[in-house]
Symmetry: C2
Subunit: 173 residues, 2 copies
Protein backbone atom coordinates (compact mmCIF):
# COMPACT_ATOMS: atom_id res chain seq x y z
CA UNK A 1 0.00 0.00 0.00
CA UNK A 2 1.19 3.51 -0.78
CA UNK A 3 0.77 5.07 2.67
CA UNK A 4 1.30 8.60 1.40
CA UNK A 5 -1.87 8.24 -0.67
CA UNK A 6 -3.83 7.60 2.53
CA UNK A 7 -3.01 11.07 3.86
CA UNK A 8 -5.10 14.02 2.77
CA UNK A 9 -4.05 17.63 2.33
CA UNK A 10 -6.07 20.30 4.11
CA UNK A 11 -5.34 23.71 2.63
CA UNK A 12 -5.03 26.74 4.96
CA UNK A 13 -5.04 24.79 8.25
CA UNK A 14 -4.29 25.75 10.98
CA UNK A 15 -3.78 29.05 9.19
CA UNK A 16 -3.69 30.59 5.75
CA UNK A 17 -0.85 29.40 3.54
CA UNK A 18 -0.24 26.13 5.36
CA UNK A 19 -1.09 22.77 3.80
CA UNK A 20 -1.84 20.44 6.69
CA UNK A 21 -1.09 16.74 6.30
CA UNK A 22 -4.19 15.07 7.75
CA UNK A 23 -3.36 11.54 8.90
CA UNK A 24 -6.86 10.73 10.21
CA UNK A 25 -7.80 9.24 6.82
CA UNK A 26 -4.86 6.83 7.13
CA UNK A 27 -5.80 5.96 10.72
CA UNK A 28 -9.40 5.23 9.73
CA UNK A 29 -8.32 2.39 7.41
CA UNK A 30 -7.36 -0.71 9.40
CA UNK A 31 -4.82 -1.99 6.85
CA UNK A 32 -3.17 1.41 6.53
CA UNK A 33 -2.87 1.87 10.30
CA UNK A 34 -1.43 -1.65 10.67
CA UNK A 35 1.04 -1.07 7.83
CA UNK A 36 2.12 2.29 9.23
CA UNK A 37 2.91 0.76 12.63
CA UNK A 38 4.78 -2.11 10.96
CA UNK A 39 6.86 0.36 8.93
CA UNK A 40 7.60 2.47 12.01
CA UNK A 41 8.82 -0.60 13.92
CA UNK A 42 10.71 -2.28 11.07
CA UNK A 43 14.29 -1.09 11.76
CA UNK A 44 14.08 -1.94 15.47
CA UNK A 45 12.72 -5.48 15.55
CA UNK A 46 16.04 -7.09 16.43
CA UNK A 47 17.08 -4.43 18.91
CA UNK A 48 16.45 -4.10 22.64
CA UNK A 49 14.17 -1.10 23.08
CA UNK A 50 13.21 -0.38 26.70
CA UNK A 51 10.98 2.64 26.26
CA UNK A 52 8.96 4.43 23.60
CA UNK A 53 8.77 8.11 24.55
CA UNK A 54 6.05 9.85 22.59
CA UNK A 55 4.62 13.32 22.32
CA UNK A 56 1.09 14.36 23.24
CA UNK A 57 -1.20 13.77 21.58
CA UNK A 58 -0.79 12.39 18.04
CA UNK A 59 2.49 10.77 19.05
CA UNK A 60 0.47 8.52 21.36
CA UNK A 61 -1.40 7.09 18.36
CA UNK A 62 1.76 5.51 16.97
CA UNK A 63 3.85 5.23 20.15
CA UNK A 64 1.39 2.99 21.99
CA UNK A 65 1.10 0.29 19.30
CA UNK A 66 4.88 0.47 18.74
CA UNK A 67 5.50 -0.14 22.46
CA UNK A 68 3.31 -3.24 22.35
CA UNK A 69 4.83 -4.44 19.08
CA UNK A 70 8.42 -4.02 20.30
CA UNK A 71 7.81 -5.16 23.91
CA UNK A 72 8.75 -1.77 25.33
CA UNK A 73 7.16 0.48 27.96
CA UNK A 74 5.44 3.68 26.88
CA UNK A 75 6.42 7.08 28.25
CA UNK A 76 4.15 10.08 27.59
CA UNK A 77 5.78 13.47 26.97
CA UNK A 78 3.14 16.05 27.76
CA UNK A 79 2.27 19.72 27.81
CA UNK A 80 2.99 21.52 31.12
CA UNK A 81 0.76 20.61 34.07
CA UNK A 82 -0.71 17.41 32.64
CA UNK A 83 1.52 14.82 34.31
CA UNK A 84 0.59 14.23 37.95
CA UNK A 85 3.89 13.16 39.56
CA UNK A 86 7.31 14.86 39.69
CA UNK A 87 8.49 15.96 36.25
CA UNK A 88 11.46 17.30 34.31
CA UNK A 89 10.79 19.97 31.73
CA UNK A 90 12.41 21.14 28.47
CA UNK A 91 11.41 24.17 26.46
CA UNK A 92 11.51 24.72 22.71
CA UNK A 93 11.01 27.59 20.29
CA UNK A 94 7.79 28.29 18.48
CA UNK A 95 7.28 30.72 15.63
CA UNK A 96 6.36 33.29 18.29
CA UNK A 97 7.52 32.54 21.84
CA UNK A 98 8.33 29.20 23.46
CA UNK A 99 6.52 26.14 24.74
CA UNK A 100 7.63 23.23 26.87
CA UNK A 101 7.32 19.51 27.26
CA UNK A 102 7.33 17.49 30.49
CA UNK A 103 8.26 13.92 31.44
CA UNK A 104 7.94 12.11 34.76
CA UNK A 105 11.36 11.92 36.43
CA UNK A 106 10.97 8.17 36.99
CA UNK A 107 9.79 7.42 33.44
CA UNK A 108 13.25 6.66 32.03
CA UNK A 109 16.16 5.14 33.96
CA UNK A 110 19.91 5.42 33.45
CA UNK A 111 21.06 3.30 30.52
CA UNK A 112 17.63 2.49 29.12
CA UNK A 113 17.31 2.46 25.33
CA UNK A 114 14.61 4.78 24.03
CA UNK A 115 12.84 5.55 20.75
CA UNK A 116 11.31 9.02 20.52
CA UNK A 117 8.11 8.83 18.46
CA UNK A 118 5.82 11.45 16.96
CA UNK A 119 3.48 11.65 14.01
CA UNK A 120 5.33 14.50 12.33
CA UNK A 121 8.85 15.92 12.04
CA UNK A 122 8.55 19.58 11.05
CA UNK A 123 11.11 22.08 12.39
CA UNK A 124 12.39 19.61 15.01
CA UNK A 125 11.68 21.82 18.05
CA UNK A 126 9.52 19.34 19.96
CA UNK A 127 11.81 16.47 19.03
CA UNK A 128 14.89 18.21 20.38
CA UNK A 129 13.07 18.96 23.64
CA UNK A 130 12.18 15.25 23.82
CA UNK A 131 15.84 14.30 23.39
CA UNK A 132 16.77 16.65 26.23
CA UNK A 133 14.18 15.07 28.55
CA UNK A 134 15.27 11.50 27.86
CA UNK A 135 18.99 12.24 28.07
CA UNK A 136 18.61 14.28 31.29
CA UNK A 137 17.44 11.06 32.97
CA UNK A 138 20.28 9.00 31.50
CA UNK A 139 18.29 7.38 28.72
CA UNK A 140 19.97 6.51 25.41
CA UNK A 141 18.11 7.82 22.36
CA UNK A 142 18.46 5.01 19.80
CA UNK A 143 16.45 6.84 17.16
CA UNK A 144 13.75 9.40 16.44
CA UNK A 145 10.81 7.92 14.60
CA UNK A 146 8.13 9.78 12.63
CA UNK A 147 5.27 8.76 10.39
CA UNK A 148 5.66 11.93 8.30
CA UNK A 149 8.71 14.11 7.70
CA UNK A 150 8.46 17.55 6.13
CA UNK A 151 12.00 17.36 4.81
CA UNK A 152 11.93 20.89 3.37
CA UNK A 153 11.82 22.29 6.94
CA UNK A 154 15.08 20.51 7.73
CA UNK A 155 14.10 19.38 11.24
CA UNK A 156 16.91 16.81 11.14
CA UNK A 157 19.42 19.62 11.54
CA UNK A 158 18.25 20.01 15.16
CA UNK A 159 18.64 16.34 16.01
CA UNK A 160 22.42 16.00 15.82
CA UNK A 161 23.80 12.78 14.38
CA UNK A 162 21.09 10.63 15.92
CA UNK A 163 19.30 8.12 13.72
CA UNK A 164 16.07 9.46 12.21
CA UNK A 165 13.53 7.02 10.76
CA UNK A 166 10.56 8.48 8.89
CA UNK A 167 8.05 6.48 6.87
CA UNK A 168 6.65 9.19 4.55
CA UNK A 169 8.79 12.10 3.43
CA UNK A 170 7.68 15.29 1.67
CA UNK A 171 9.73 17.84 -0.17
CA UNK A 172 13.10 16.22 -0.44
CA UNK A 173 15.73 17.84 -2.59
Amino acid sequence: MNLAEQIRDIVDFPKKGIVFKDITTLMARPEALREAVDALCAPFRDQRIDKIACMESRGFIFGAPMAIELGAGMVPLRKPGKLPAETVSASYELEYGTDSLEMHVDAVSEGETVLIVDDLLATGGTASAAIELVETRGGIVEALVFLVELAFLDGRAKLGDRMVHSVIRYGEE
Copy 2:
Protein backbone atom coordinates in the same frame (compact mmCIF):
# COMPACT_ATOMS: atom_id res chain seq x y z
CA MET B 1 -0.87 -9.70 36.84
CA ASN B 2 -2.97 -7.48 39.10
CA LEU B 3 -3.29 -4.45 36.84
CA ALA B 4 -4.74 -2.26 39.61
CA GLU B 5 -1.44 -2.61 41.49
CA GLN B 6 0.36 -1.05 38.52
CA ILE B 7 -1.54 2.21 38.94
CA ARG B 8 -0.36 4.75 41.46
CA ASP B 9 -2.36 7.22 43.48
CA ILE B 10 -1.35 10.89 43.34
CA VAL B 11 -2.93 12.80 46.20
CA ASP B 12 -4.29 16.34 45.57
CA PHE B 13 -3.97 16.28 41.74
CA PRO B 14 -5.19 18.14 39.76
CA LYS B 15 -6.51 19.90 42.86
CA LYS B 16 -6.78 19.50 46.62
CA GLY B 17 -8.97 16.64 47.77
CA ILE B 18 -8.73 14.59 44.58
CA VAL B 19 -6.79 11.32 44.41
CA PHE B 20 -5.62 10.98 40.82
CA LYS B 21 -5.22 7.49 39.35
CA ASP B 22 -1.88 7.71 37.52
CA ILE B 23 -1.73 5.08 34.78
CA THR B 24 1.74 6.08 33.51
CA THR B 25 3.32 3.49 35.85
CA LEU B 26 1.21 0.79 34.19
CA MET B 27 2.09 2.06 30.72
CA ALA B 28 5.81 2.02 31.52
CA ARG B 29 5.79 -1.76 32.11
CA PRO B 30 5.62 -3.67 28.82
CA GLU B 31 3.78 -6.68 30.26
CA ALA B 32 1.23 -4.50 32.03
CA LEU B 33 0.53 -2.41 28.91
CA ARG B 34 0.17 -5.58 26.82
CA GLU B 35 -2.14 -7.18 29.40
CA ALA B 36 -4.27 -4.03 29.67
CA VAL B 37 -4.84 -3.92 25.91
CA ASP B 38 -5.65 -7.65 25.87
CA ALA B 39 -8.19 -7.17 28.65
CA LEU B 40 -9.76 -4.17 26.90
CA CYS B 41 -10.15 -6.17 23.67
CA ALA B 42 -11.26 -9.46 25.23
CA PRO B 43 -15.07 -9.19 24.91
CA PHE B 44 -14.90 -8.07 21.27
CA ARG B 45 -12.58 -10.59 19.62
CA ASP B 46 -15.34 -12.48 17.84
CA GLN B 47 -17.30 -9.41 16.85
CA ARG B 48 -17.08 -7.18 13.80
CA ILE B 49 -15.82 -3.80 14.99
CA ASP B 50 -15.39 -1.21 12.24
CA LYS B 51 -14.11 1.75 14.22
CA ILE B 52 -12.50 2.56 17.55
CA ALA B 53 -13.47 6.13 18.50
CA CYS B 54 -11.23 7.42 21.26
CA MET B 55 -10.88 10.59 23.23
CA GLU B 56 -7.89 12.93 23.19
CA SER B 57 -5.40 12.32 24.56
CA ARG B 58 -5.12 9.39 26.97
CA GLY B 59 -7.86 7.54 25.08
CA PHE B 60 -5.44 7.39 22.11
CA ILE B 61 -3.01 5.31 24.21
CA PHE B 62 -5.46 2.41 24.43
CA GLY B 63 -7.61 3.07 21.37
CA ALA B 64 -4.76 2.82 18.87
CA PRO B 65 -3.48 -0.62 19.97
CA MET B 66 -7.08 -1.84 20.25
CA ALA B 67 -7.77 -0.77 16.67
CA ILE B 68 -4.78 -2.74 15.46
CA GLU B 69 -5.63 -5.75 17.62
CA LEU B 70 -9.27 -5.86 16.48
CA GLY B 71 -8.62 -4.92 12.84
CA ALA B 72 -10.61 -1.70 13.12
CA GLY B 73 -9.96 1.87 12.02
CA MET B 74 -9.17 4.52 14.62
CA VAL B 75 -11.21 7.70 14.95
CA PRO B 76 -9.88 10.53 17.11
CA LEU B 77 -12.37 12.58 19.14
CA ARG B 78 -10.69 15.88 19.87
CA LYS B 79 -10.95 19.19 21.65
CA PRO B 80 -12.39 22.04 19.53
CA GLY B 81 -10.21 23.35 16.69
CA LYS B 82 -7.77 20.45 16.53
CA LEU B 83 -9.27 18.43 13.67
CA PRO B 84 -8.48 19.94 10.28
CA ALA B 85 -11.44 18.86 8.12
CA GLU B 86 -15.21 19.34 8.53
CA THR B 87 -16.41 18.27 11.99
CA VAL B 88 -19.48 17.59 14.11
CA SER B 89 -19.42 18.78 17.69
CA ALA B 90 -21.06 17.73 20.97
CA SER B 91 -20.84 19.58 24.25
CA TYR B 92 -20.81 18.22 27.80
CA GLU B 93 -21.01 19.61 31.32
CA LEU B 94 -17.98 20.28 33.45
CA GLU B 95 -17.99 21.07 37.16
CA TYR B 96 -18.09 24.72 36.12
CA GLY B 97 -19.26 25.44 32.58
CA THR B 98 -19.17 23.22 29.51
CA ASP B 99 -16.64 21.81 27.08
CA SER B 100 -16.99 20.09 23.73
CA LEU B 101 -15.63 17.29 21.63
CA GLU B 102 -15.30 17.12 17.83
CA MET B 103 -15.20 14.35 15.25
CA HIS B 104 -14.62 14.52 11.50
CA VAL B 105 -17.96 14.17 9.69
CA ASP B 106 -16.54 11.44 7.45
CA ALA B 107 -14.93 9.45 10.29
CA VAL B 108 -17.89 7.15 10.90
CA SER B 109 -20.37 5.96 8.27
CA GLU B 110 -24.00 4.84 8.56
CA GLY B 111 -24.24 1.36 10.06
CA GLU B 112 -20.61 1.02 11.15
CA THR B 113 -20.01 -0.71 14.49
CA VAL B 114 -18.02 1.40 16.93
CA LEU B 115 -16.31 1.00 20.30
CA ILE B 116 -15.85 4.22 22.27
CA VAL B 117 -12.58 4.02 24.22
CA ASP B 118 -11.06 6.15 26.97
CA ASP B 119 -8.66 5.59 29.84
CA LEU B 120 -11.15 6.63 32.51
CA LEU B 121 -14.89 6.64 33.17
CA ALA B 122 -15.63 9.28 35.80
CA THR B 123 -18.88 11.25 35.62
CA GLY B 124 -19.56 10.08 32.05
CA GLY B 125 -19.79 13.56 30.50
CA THR B 126 -17.14 13.03 27.81
CA ALA B 127 -18.41 9.54 27.08
CA SER B 128 -21.97 10.72 26.50
CA ALA B 129 -20.69 13.42 24.12
CA ALA B 130 -18.77 10.70 22.27
CA ILE B 131 -21.95 8.62 21.92
CA GLU B 132 -23.74 11.65 20.47
CA LEU B 133 -20.98 12.21 17.88
CA VAL B 134 -20.92 8.59 16.71
CA GLU B 135 -24.71 8.22 16.58
CA THR B 136 -25.18 11.55 14.77
CA ARG B 137 -23.25 10.03 11.87
CA GLY B 138 -25.25 6.78 11.96
CA GLY B 139 -22.65 4.70 13.80
CA ILE B 140 -23.74 1.90 16.14
CA VAL B 141 -22.11 2.10 19.56
CA GLU B 142 -21.42 -1.54 20.43
CA ALA B 143 -19.86 -0.70 23.79
CA LEU B 144 -17.99 1.88 25.83
CA VAL B 145 -14.60 0.65 26.98
CA PHE B 146 -12.44 2.04 29.78
CA LEU B 147 -9.26 0.97 31.48
CA VAL B 148 -10.40 2.49 34.80
CA GLU B 149 -13.89 3.12 36.11
CA LEU B 150 -14.56 5.30 39.15
CA ALA B 151 -17.79 3.48 39.96
CA PHE B 152 -18.64 5.76 42.89
CA LEU B 153 -19.21 8.64 40.43
CA ASP B 154 -21.86 6.57 38.64
CA GLY B 155 -20.87 7.59 35.13
CA ARG B 156 -22.79 4.58 33.76
CA ALA B 157 -26.03 6.37 34.56
CA LYS B 158 -25.29 8.76 31.66
CA LEU B 159 -24.65 5.99 29.14
CA GLY B 160 -28.15 4.53 28.89
CA ASP B 161 -28.39 0.77 28.50
CA ARG B 162 -25.30 0.52 26.32
CA MET B 163 -22.69 -2.09 27.21
CA VAL B 164 -19.88 -0.76 29.40
CA HIS B 165 -16.64 -2.72 29.71
CA SER B 166 -14.09 -1.53 32.27
CA VAL B 167 -10.96 -3.40 33.28
CA ILE B 168 -10.26 -1.85 36.70
CA ARG B 169 -13.07 -0.60 38.92
CA TYR B 170 -12.79 1.53 42.04
CA GLY B 171 -15.36 2.18 44.74
CA GLU B 172 -18.07 -0.27 43.94
CA GLU B 173 -20.89 -0.66 46.41
